[in-house]
C-alpha cells in the first residue's frame, strides 16, 4: 500500500488536534427538505427530532417552494437531467441563455455568465480581468472564495481595513501607477451581517478611476427595496462593474453562481475563465427553477418584505430579551457569546429546545469573537420566531448572560 503508516499517523494526529481544540465540525443528518421546520437525526442513530431551522441561507424561503420545485420538475421533463459537457462544447441550452438574460435584467447589468458555483465564479474572474500590471484592493474580510481567486491571479494584492474608507483611499493613492485597479468587497459580510458602504466605494472608484467588484451572495434577492442587492440598497445601480452572486442561497439554494458585468468582461470570461471552460454546465432542473425564482421575485416583493419584517421583529425582541446582538439590518443576526465553548454549549442546548443553530468560532471568526449566527427566513412565521426567542431567553438565563455586556461575559467564561 502506497499510503504509509507515517502519513496515516500524521493525519490522525491533525484530526486529534482539531478535536482537542474544540474545533471539529460535525454534520447533522437532515431527513426532510430545507424549510422553517426540519427533521434531524443527531447524533447519528438518535431519534429523529423536529426542529426550527435558524441557520440556513434560505432567506426567501424558496428552497422548497412549490412553484420552484414544479419548475425544476418541468426542467427535468423538457431539458433532461444532466448535460455531461462544459458550456462551449455541447452544454449550452436555450434556457441557459434565458437565465443569463433574466439575471442581467434583475441586477441591472449588461450581461451575465453562469458558473457551477459562486465559489468558481470568484475563483475564475480575477485571473481573467487582471495581471501583474494591475492591483486588487480588497476588504480584509472578503469571503474565502474571493481570497482563493485572488491567490490564483498575478495582480498585486492590497488589503484595506474592514469597511474603512479612509484606508481604502490610501490604498487607491498608493496604486496610482498600476494599469487597472479593482476594489473588491462582499456586499453583505456573512459573519457579521453588515452591509458594505457601496456608495462611498463607488465615489472613491470614480475619483481614482478604479473598478468595483461586489460579491452579493448574501444580498441578491432581498437587500434593497426590490431585492436587487447592495447596489440597489446603496443607490448605486449601474455604477458597479462586476457583481458575483449565488443561486445557492436566497434564489432557491440548489447550486450555481454567476458573474454579471459589462458585456466585454463577460465575453472575456466565456473565453478564458478556467472554471467556466473546465467545469460542467449547470444542470437543466437547476436552470429551469432559477428562471422561475427570478420571475417570482421580479413580480412581487412580498417575500422580501416579509423577510424584512421578520428580521426587524427578531432583532428587536432578542435585544429586549437581553441578548447581545450585532446591530444591523440584514437577516444575518449574530448572537455574540465571545467564548468558543460557550457558543457550542448554547447551540447544543438550543437544539434540545428544538432550535437548530450553529456556533461559529476561530478560525471562521476572530478568536474571542465566538457567536451563534442566526439567519432569518421569509419562511419563518411569527410563532417560529417567538419560539426561538423564548428558547434563547431560557438558555441565556441558564448561562446567566442575559443583559450582560461583552466584558461581563468574558469575565465569566474567558475568551
Amino acid at each position: 500500500m502506497a499510503y504509509s503508516e507515517k502519513a496515516k499517523g500524521f493525519y490522525q494526529n491533525e484530526l486529534t488536534t482539531i478535536r482537542q481544540g474544540g474545533l471539529f465540525k460535525e454534520e447533522r443528518y437532515i431527513e426532510s427538505p430545507q424549510a422553517a421546520n426540519i427533521t434531524v437525526e443527531f447524533p447519528k442513530g438518535a431519534a429523529q427530532k423536529q426542529v426550527i431551522n435558524l441557520c440556513a441561507n434560505n432567506y426567501l424561503g424558496l428552497s422548497s417552494h412549490p412553484d420552484v420545485v414544479k419548475a425544476a420538475h418541468a426542467g427535468l421533463d423538457s431539458r433532461g437531467y444532466g448535460l455531461s459537457s462544459v458550456r462551449f462544447i455541447c452544454g449550452t441550452q436555450d434556457i441557459h441563455d434565458e437565465l443569463e438574460r433574466k439575471i442581467s435584467e434583475f441586477l441591472g447589468m449588461e450581461d451575465t455568465i453562469l458558473f457551477p458555483s459562486c465559489m468558481e465564479a470568484n475563483a475564475g474572474m480575477f485571473e481573467v480581468m487582471l495581471d501583474k500590471n494591475d492591483a486588487m484592493i480588497a476588504d480584509r474580510l472578503v469571503h474565502a472564495s474571493i481570497v482563493d481567486g485572488m491567490r490564483l491571479c498575478k495582480a498585486q494584492l492590497f488589503n484595506y481595513k474592514h469597511s474603512n474608507m479612509a484606508h481604502l483611499e490610501e490604498k487607491l493613492q498608493e496604486t496610482q501607477q498600476c494599469r487597472f485597479r479593482l476594489i473588491i468587497t462582499d456586499g453583505v459580510f456573512s459573519m457579521d451581517g453588515d452591509i458594505v458602504k457601496l456608495d462611498e466605494i463607488c465615489d472613491l472608484a470614480d475619483k481614482y478611476d478604479a473598478m468595483v467588484m461586489v460579491d452579493d451572495s448574501h444580498a441578491t434577492g432581498f437587500i434593497g427595496k426590490r431585492g436587487r442587492g447592495t447596489h440597489e440598497h446603496c443607490g448605486v445601480m449601474g455604477r458597479v462593474d462586476v457583481i458575483t452572486t449565488t443561486l445557492g442561497k436566497a434564489l432557491g439554494g440548489a447550486t450555481g453562481g454567476c458573474l454579471s458585468s459589462r458585456k466585454e468582461i463577460v465575453d472575456l470570461c466565456r473565453q478564458r475563465a478556467r472554471p467556466y471552460l473546465f467545469s460542467n454546465s449547470l444542470p437543466p432542473p437547476v436552470v429551469a427553477a432559477s428562471i422561475r425564482v427570478i420571475e417570482l421575485i421580479s413580480k412581487t416583493t412580498d417575500r422580501r418584505d416579509k423577510l424584512e419584517r421578520n428580521t426587524k421583529y427578531f432583532r428587536e425582541r432578542m435585544i429586549k430579551a437581553g441578548l447581545d446582538i450585532k446591530e444591523g439590518e440584514s437577516p444575518i443576526v449574530p448572537v455574540m457569546l465571545y467564548n468558543a465553548k460557550l457558543a457550542q454549549d448554547v447551540a447544543r442546548d438550543l437544539f434540545q429546545e428544538g432550535i437548530y443553530v450553529v456556533g461559529f468560532f476561530f478560525p471562521v471568526v476572530p478568536a474571542g469573537a465566538a457567536r451563534i449566527r442566526t439567519q432569518i427566513s421569509a419562511d419563518h412565521e411569527i410563532e417560529h420566531l417567538d419560539k426561538a426567542i423564548a428558547a434563547f431567553t431560557k438558555i441565556g438565563a441558564k448561562y446567566n448572560i442575559l443583559g450582560k455586556k461583552k466584558d461581563e461575559v468574558i469575565a465569566m467564561y474567558g475568551l
Binding site: 502506497a2 474545533l23 437531467y81 444532466g82 455541447c90 458555483s117 491567490r151 440548489a254 459589462r262 432542473p285
Partner: protein, 404 residues
C-alpha cells in the same frame, strides 16, 4: 460610470484578437435534453436543426435515462429543491451520506466526500493535505482543475513528462528528503483518451513511499470490467490512495464530484478543504440522480459493454476509412488532422451534414496536433455510428485528408 473607457477598450481589443486568431469559442443553443440526437439552434435565430451528437461526455447515456430522470424527480419531491447551506451547517441530508457510502463501495475505497464539482474537489484536496514540507509530482498533461489545485497548495511541485515513468522515478528519487510525496495523474487524459499506467504508478508509489492520487473523471462508470475505473482496469484496486471523480460525465452528467480515499484523508478534507467548507452542498435532485446511476451500474454491465462495443467498432471502422487516430480502448477517439484550419473546416462541414463534433487546436493541444475529438456513447445505435462514419468518409475524401 466607474469603469473607464480605457478599460472597456482594453477588453474589447482582447476579444477582437481572439476572434482574429480563430480562438473565439462560440456556444450553440441546444433545445433538447442531452442525447445522441440533439435539436440545435445555431447561430442564434437560425432554423432549428437535428444533429447526431459525438462530443458529449455522456458515455453511458445516463444524462437522459428514464430511470435517472425518475429518481431525480423523486429526490425533488422527497428532499426538496435546494439546501441553501454548506454541508456542516444545515446542508447534510441522509441521502448525502448514502451517496458517499455507495461511491466508496463502487470505487472500493474506505470513505468519500462530495463536492459541488470535480473541479472543486481538485481545487481543495491538495492544500488541505500537503504543506511546504511536501512535494507534488504531477503529469504535465493533467487537467486544468488539478493545476489550479496545485497552484493553491504550498507544497513543492515537479511536472514529470507525460506518461514517462522513468522521469517520474527520477523525480521520486530526488525528493526523498521531503516529508510526503504525492503522485498526481489523470486516470484518462481527456484530449488523447490515453490511460495512465496505474500498474506502474502503484509500484513506484510503494517503492518510494508516495501517496497516489488519480482523477478518474473520464473513467468512472465504464473503464475496467465492472466500470470501476482505471484502477480496476489495471488490477490495482486498493492500491490507489485517493481518487477524485465527477458525476458530471458518465454518471448522469448533472453536476458534482467527490474525493474517495482512506478515511483519515477524507476526515481531514471535511474539516479543512476550502471548497467543501465554503461552497454549497449538492442539490438533492443531483444526489438522488447520482444514486440511481450507481445503482444501475451495480445491477448490470449492459451499458458499459455496449459503450465498449460501440467504441471498438467506431475505432476500427474510422481507421479502415483511412483516418489516423490515437490508438486505444477509450471512447474518446482523437482523429488526427494536425492542421487547425482543416480541423475547423471539416467539423463545420460535418455540422452542416448533421454530425456534431468539436475540433481542438492550439493552445488546447500542441500546435501541429490539431484534431477532431469524437466521443462515443452507449446511447449511440449502430446506424448512428454508421451515418457518422459515412460522412467522415465523404468529407475526408473531399478534403483529401484520408489515406487511400
Amino acid at each position: 460610470m466607474t469603469q473607464s473607457r480605457i478599460v472597456k477598450e482594453f477588453f474589447q481589443k482582447e476579444i477582437q484578437e481572439l476572434k482574429a486568431a480563430h480562438l473565439f469559442k462560440e456556444e450553440r443553443y441546444i433545445l433538447s435534453p442531452q442525447s445522441p440526437v440533439l435539436t440545435v439552434e445555431y447561430p442564434p435565430g437560425a432554423p432549428v436543426k437535428e444533429l447526431l451528437n459525438f462530443c458529449a461526455n455522456n458515455y453511458l447515456g445516463l444524462s437522459d435515462h428514464p430511470e435517472v430522470l425518475k429518481a431525480a424527480a423523486e429526490g425533488l419531491k422527497k428532499r426538496g429543491y435546494g439546501m441553501s447551506s454548506v454541508r456542516f451547517i444545515c446542508g447534510t441530508q441522509d441521502i448525502h451520506k448514502e451517496l458517499e457510502a455507495r461511491l466508496s463501495d463502487f470505487l472500493g475505497m474506505e470513505d468519500t466526500i462530495l463536492y459541488t464539482s470535480a473541479f472543486d474537489a481538485n481545487g481543495g484536496v491538495f492544500e488541505a493535505l500537503l504543506g511546504e514540507e511536501d512535494v507534488i509530482l504531477s503529469d504535465e498533461l493533467n487537467h486544468a482543475s488539478i493545476i489550479d489545485g496545485i497552484r493553491l497548495c504550498k507544497a513543492h511541485r515537479h511536472r514529470y513528462k507525460h506518461l514517462d515513468m522513468a522521469d517520474l522515478e527520477q523525480c521520486l528519487r530526488q525528493s526523498q528528503d521531503k516529508r510526503f510525496r504525492m503522485i498526481v495523474t489523470d486516470g484518462v487524459f481527456s484530449m488523447d483518451g490515453e490511460l495512465a499506467r496505474l500498474d506502474i504508478l502503484t509500484t513506484l508509489a510503494e517503492r518510494y513511499d508516495a501517496i497516489l492520487l488519480v482523477d478518474d473523471s473520464h473513467a468512472t462508470g465504464f473503464i475496467g470490467p465492472n466500470g470501476r475505473g482505471t484502477h480496476e482496469h489495471h488490477g490495482v484496486m486498493g492500491k490507489v490512495d485517493l481518487i477524485t471523480t465527477t458525476f458530471g460525465k458518465a454518471l448522469g452528467g448533472a453536476s458534482g464530484g467527490c474525493v474517495s480515499g482512506s478515511r483519515v484523508f477524507i476526515d481531514v478534507l471535511r474539516q479543512r478543504s476550502r471548497p467543501y467548507t465554503f461552497s454549497n452542498t449538492l442539490a438533492p435532485v443531483v444526489v438522488a440522480g447520482t444514486l440511481k446511476a450507481l445503482e444501475l451500474l451495480g445491477q448490470s454491465h449492459k451499458l458499459r459493454d455496449k459503450l465498449m462495443e460501440n467504441t471498438a467498432y467506431f475505432r476500427r471502422r474510422i481507421s479502415e476509412i483511412g483516418y489516423t487516430i490515437i490508438e486505444g480502448i477509450h471512447p474518446i477517439v482523437p482523429i488526427m488532422l494536425h492542421d487547425a484550419k482543416v480541423v475547423q473546416e471539416i467539423s463545420r462541414e460535418l455540422y452542416n451534414e448533421g454530425i456534431y463534433v468539436i475540433g481542438f487546436s492550439y493552445p488546447v493541444v500542441p500546435k501541429d496536433k490539431a484534431r477532431i475529438r469524437v466521443q462515443i456513447s452507449a446511447a449511440h445505435e449502430r446506424h448512428q455510428l454508421d451515418k457518422a462514419l459515412e460522412l467522415f468518409k465523404i468529407i475526408g475524401e473531399q478534403f483529401g485528408v484520408i489515406r487511400t
